[in-house]
């Protein structure tokens, strides 16, 4: 008896669900579902800094043994360092050619093989040229199959001369030469500047350079296992620092293996007693706010995909690299930094295989706390999913005949439903349900116009991509202004064209399909992007959230509001706003982006102009189209 009742109840529930499947109310749900997705995605992100969701970092690779070796850099090396620092300081006002000569001479004196490399890049009408100097220390126990790179760029990312950094690399070159324990070659690289010098060098090292602009390397060693850049811009009289700032972002948001970062933190704080910090968080109190701030700064830098130090160029070549930068006023001197770098080199020297144990996808929120991809990826994926959900719903809607009556949604009791004439019996297993026959009707979808429209808009995205990557810097600002106006006018022009040019104005179904396809593509691009550059995908996803909610409307007030909101969210407007917020000139920003495109192989622009911009144009056309 009990079982039978149970069974009946089950049938009733199943029938209810089956009936619900075709309930028109179900189609009202998705906007809320989309909003829920966005909310969950955002809250998820905000939860990450909590202790329950982030993890303590740890070194996975056994061979690294961070801080387990005694470091001998000290004593008389200090005098040598000071001498080198004065030598380097004396080069400040010399010509680039003389400086290169001097570096070559200094490195040759250490007994190393020295090479030099000229390069010249041009972008946005500007030309950047320089000459790198590098030397190879052949490891006494090495067979020239593997190498570590130690970098001291002449100028750091802030364009300040890196006197002590270069002097330290020179001192270490001389010092390392004496040791017999190196089982990898060590390459000492003195790039001309941080943004392009190491890029030219690492491109040429992997024979991926453009021979018209970059010279090939005269001497090479084996596969690069790791690279450490030293940024210590203290003048000839030294400067005692407080902390080490570890910079780890690579081009296009790629990150080095977390083990390398952990090793650096471990050595600095554990062995040397130097505090470490990251993402320009000079004062980190380990509070929720600071952790979140660190994480968001890291995401911003990852999302923009620009170069953050001389190490960045190495990461796309699967060479794990970091920059060690000195910050603040404290009591640590150059010898502590030297010993830290020595210990790091010793750890890398121990490696038996390429770093692979630890994470390549992570968000750091403090020097010793992180979240790995499994924990954070869902937030971007959920946000990307909201577009896909809306797109599926719009697709289903486009196949439904225009709702004739509201009877089905208002009649709730089953008795009333049974009286309706146009009902169909649905059987599934042993369950039976009555549903309106209209729920099964699928009307013909006209795909040609929507597909053509989407293709056209995406194709138009190539225009800004081309213009902003090739125009000279002087015209960038003007062309950006013109383009912003064009962007804002374009949806109106499209709506006019759609209403006038084809045989008949687009049907509501076609508008729905246009939005459906646009959101499908957006969801598609963002979820693929989330696996490559999580932060960029999340940022574009959040900036695109209104696109899920715009619907064609006849009411001029509603359309005006939507139009206003969308205009405020237009990609060029947002970009201009960001530039204004950070007090930067748009033209300069675009010139930098163009430089990134040509020199670093940065593709943030592609995402902006070919993913975000077309989605915005389509959403605006959907919003205002009904007015024309």
């Amino acid at each position: 008896m009990f079982l039978l009742r149970e069974l009946l109840a089950e049938i009733r529930i199943a029938t209810a669900i089956l009936g619900l499947r075709h309930d028109p109310r179900l189609l009202k749900l998705p906007p809320y579902l989309s909003a829920l997705c966005i909310l969950v995605g955002t809250v998820w992100l905000l939860l990450l800094p909590l202790n329950e969701y982030s993890r303590q970092t740890y070194v996975s690779e056994n061979a690294l043994l961070p801080g387990q070796v005694h470091t001998y850099f000290g004593g008389s090396e200090h005098n040598i360092f000071r001498a080198y620092r004065h030598e380097v300081h004396a080069l400040e006002h010399k010509s680039a050619e003389e400086r290169t000569e001097k570096f070559v001479e200094l490195l040759k004196d250490c007994g190393l093989k020295v090479g030099r490399q000229k390069y010249e890049y041009s972008s946005a009408g500007n030309t950047v040229s320089g000459e790198n100097v590098y030397a190879v220390l052949q490891g006494p126990r090495a067979d020239a199959t593997e190498a570590i790179v130690l970098i001291g760029a002449w100028r750091n990312m802030d364009n300040v001369i890196n006197y002590s950094g270069v002097a330290l690399v020179l001192t270490l070159a001389r010092y390392f030469k004496r040791w017999s324990l190196w089982s990898k070659d060590i390459i000492f690289l003195l790039p001309f500047d941080s943004a392009s010098g190491s890029q030219a060098w690492v491109d040429a090292y992997h024979d991926a350079h453009d021979p018209l602009h970059v010279q090939p390397l005269s001497i090479k060693s084996g596969a690069l296992q790791g690279a450490i850049a030293v940024d210590y811009p203290a003048g000839p009289w030294g400067h005692r620092f407080e902390k080490l700032h570890i910079v780890y972002d690579g081009v296009n948001g790629q990150l080095p293996n977390l083990d390398l970062f952990n090793t650096a933190v471990n050595i600095a704080s554990g062995q040397m007693g130097i505090g470490t910090t990251l993402q320009r968080m000079w004062h980190h109190s380990d509070s929720y706010r600071d952790r979140l701030m660190t994480m968001l700064r890291g995401m911003l830098s990852q999302g923009l995909g620009h170069v953050s130090g001389p190490h960045s160029a190495f990461i796309p070549y699967h060479v794990d690299a970091i920059t060690v930068q000195t910050v603040g006023d404290g009591w640590h001197d150059e010898m502590s930094l030297g010993r830290t770098v020595e210990s790091l080199c010793r750890s890398l020297n121990n490696l038996l295989e390429h770093l692979h144990q630890s994470f390549f996808f992570y968000l750091l929120m403090q020097a010793n706390r992180f979240v790995s991809i499994g924990t954070y990826l869902p937030s971007a994926m959920i946000i990307a999913a909201n577009f896909t959900i809306t797109s599926i719903v719009l697709w289903v809607q486009s196949g439904r005949p225009a709702a004739p009556s509201k009877v089905a949604s208002t009649s709730n009791s089953e008795k009333e439903k049974a009286k309706e004439p146009d009902l169909t019996i649905v059987k599934e297993g042993r369950n039976v349900a009555l549903v309106p026959a209209a729920a099964f009707e699928v009307i013909e979808r006209h795909l040609f116009l929507p597909v053509g429209f989407i293709a056209t808009v995406h194709f138009l995205g190539l225009l800004p991509l081309y213009v902003f990557n090739t125009a000279p810097q002087a015209t960038l600002k003007a062309s950006f202004t013109i383009f912003t106006i064009l962007t804002l006018v374009l949806p109106h022009a499209f709506s006019q064209a759609l209403a006038r040019i084809p045989p008949q104005p687009p049907t509501p179904q076609q508008i729905t399909l246009i939005q459906s396809f646009s959101l499908l593509l957006l969801g598609l691009f963002l979820s693929a992007l989330a696996t490559l550059n999580f932060s960029l995908s999340l940022m574009i996803g959040l900036l695109s959230t209104p696109f899920s909610f715009v619907r064609p409307s006849k009411s001029p007030i509603l359309v005006g509001l939507m139009n206003l909101l969308l205009a405020a969210m237009a990609p060029p407007v947002v970009m201009g706003g960001i530039a204004w917020w950070f007090g930067k000139d748009v033209g300069e920003l675009l010139a930098q982006a163009s430089f990134g495109w040509h020199v670093w192989g940065m593709w943030t622009q592609v995402v902006i102009w070919l993913v975000w911009w077309p989605a915005w144009v389509t959403a605006s056309v959907v919003a205002i189209g009904a007015l024309y």
Partner: protein, 425 residues
């Protein structure tokens, strides 16, 4: 606009698009030629260049160990100017191949054999799409366009398959045999299409001529054209022998397809399976995989005896998923071919999810391949997982199309069931 003008416009714009992509982005074809999703070891344009280099220097093209394609392609390509220095001639050849294929597809659509063959007429035959639309679905299919730019030799196989089908559908038996024999000679798998195409050709001939369709007639027809088909293949093989004066091409070309020695990743299911396999099981599983791929041909041919064109379409789908070295070009051919069956589209149930999953794979596949091979932060499982989803998406489309055609057949038998929900028991 009349049909000829439409056709001229379509072909002109398709050719213009391809030539624009070839000339405006000169490095694009070479980048695409290196993509594992588009070129396989048995179709790759880069390997063809290698073979051509050896051939032009009077060395056996198979000596380098990288060329695994037909020897008859070499004299054809050696007539063209060097593809590195003057790429236009080669590009034109591929563009023309695509256009010839699209033309064949239009002819297939014009015969209307998809909706009404000799033994079967669909109740939805009014839902036909114009042949121009179907050809546009082929010429502007992104997979076909990308394949054309990557220039694998499978483009010629596709063209020949389409030509063979259009000839069979119009009952031109000799040209059908020649085209299919050449396609089979180039890629081996078109052999599978021979039985359904023979049925198609027989149906076309017997409905055109007032001859009696008897068993003995059918038998004579089968024997005559089967022997002609195999004789053509033997002739082509002998010609290849004459060209290279050794039989080494059998080993380097056909055994390379059959025994799967190259485990270069591709969008199919074989490579990963065979990298993981112990050598002792290899022969057994090769047999199983081939048997599996072969098994669809008799099954579909018997079940869909009345609609041989659909068998061809379904087999193209099977090939795009279960072939040893598939590429997205095969999937593109299948999807475009499916456009001829417009009348069953309303009966298909999972089009949107399946097509969306294919689109997702189209983006995630290269992304994961990048993570695995270039960034080093992923591994082979990433890419393989995506190829599984890709195969799943294609399989769902294939199964859904088969369901739709079966349902369409059933509704001809029982017109009262039209529009009713059914349940499989």
């Amino acid at each position: 606009m009349d049909v000829d003008k439409q056709k001229a416009l379509l072909f002109g714009s398709a050719a213009a698009l391809r030539l624009l992509l070839f000339t405006a982005f000169p490095s694009l074809p070479d980048v695409l030629a290196g993509r594992v999703e588009l070129s396989t070891p048995v179709t790759s344009f880069k390997r063809l260049q290698e073979g051509l280099f050896l051939y032009n220097r009077n060395v056996s093209p198979f000596d380098g160990g990288t060329y695994h394609q037909s020897p008859l392609l070499l004299p054809l390509f050696s007539l063209l100017p060097n593809a590195q220095r003057y790429p236009l001639a080669t590009s034109l050849l591929y563009v023309v191949a695509d256009l010839v294929g699209a033309d064949a597809l239009m002819k297939i659509a014009d015969t209307g054999v998809a909706v009404s063959s000799r033994l079967f007429t669909s109740s939805r035959r009014e839902l036909r799409r114009s042949s121009t639309t179907i050809a546009a679905g082929y010429l502007f299919n992104p997979f076909i366009v990308l394949t054309c730019l990557a220039r694998p030799t499978s483009v010629f196989t596709h063209t020949l398959i389409l030509q063979a089908t259009s000839r069979a559908a119009t009952g031109q038996s000799i040209t059908f045999i020649l085209a299919l024999a050449l396609a089979s000679y180039l890629s081996l798998y078109p052999l599978l299409l021979f039985p359904p195409l023979l049925i198609l050709c027989y149906d076309a001939q017997s409905s055109a001529k007032p001859i009696q369709s008897t068993t003995s007639n059918a038998l004579t027809f089968t024997i005559r054209y089967t022997s002609l088909f195999f004789a053509t293949i033997v002739a082509l093989l002998l010609l290849s022998y004459g060209l290279t004066s050794s039989w080494s091409f059998l080993n380097a070309h056909y055994l390379h397809i059959i025994l799967l020695p190259s485990l270069t990743p591709n969008v199919g299911l074989w490579w990963y399976f065979f990298t993981e396999m112990f050598d002792s099981f290899r022969a057994f599983f090769l047999g199983v995989f081939w048997l599996h791929m072969f098994a669809y041909m008799p099954a579909l041919s018997i079940r869909f005896r009345t609609q041989p064109l659909f068998v061809v379409c379904a087999l193209l789908g099977v090939v795009s998923v279960y072939a040893p070295y598939p590429a997205v070009g095969e999937a593109g051919l299948f999807l475009s071919f499916l456009g001829a069956f417009r009348h069953v589209f309303p009966l298909m149930r999972y089009t949107f999810p399946a097509v969306s999953s294919l689109l997702y794979c189209t983006l995630l596949g290269p992304a994961f391949y990048h993570l695995w091979v270039y960034a080093g932060s992923g591994n082979a499982n990433f890419f393989y997982a995506i190829t599984l989803v890709w195969s799943l998406g294609l399989t769902v489309i294939l199964a859904d199309a088969i369901y739709a055609v079966l349902r369409d057949e059933w509704e001809v038998e029982r017109p009262d069931m039209r529009g009713k929900e059914v349940r499989r028991v």
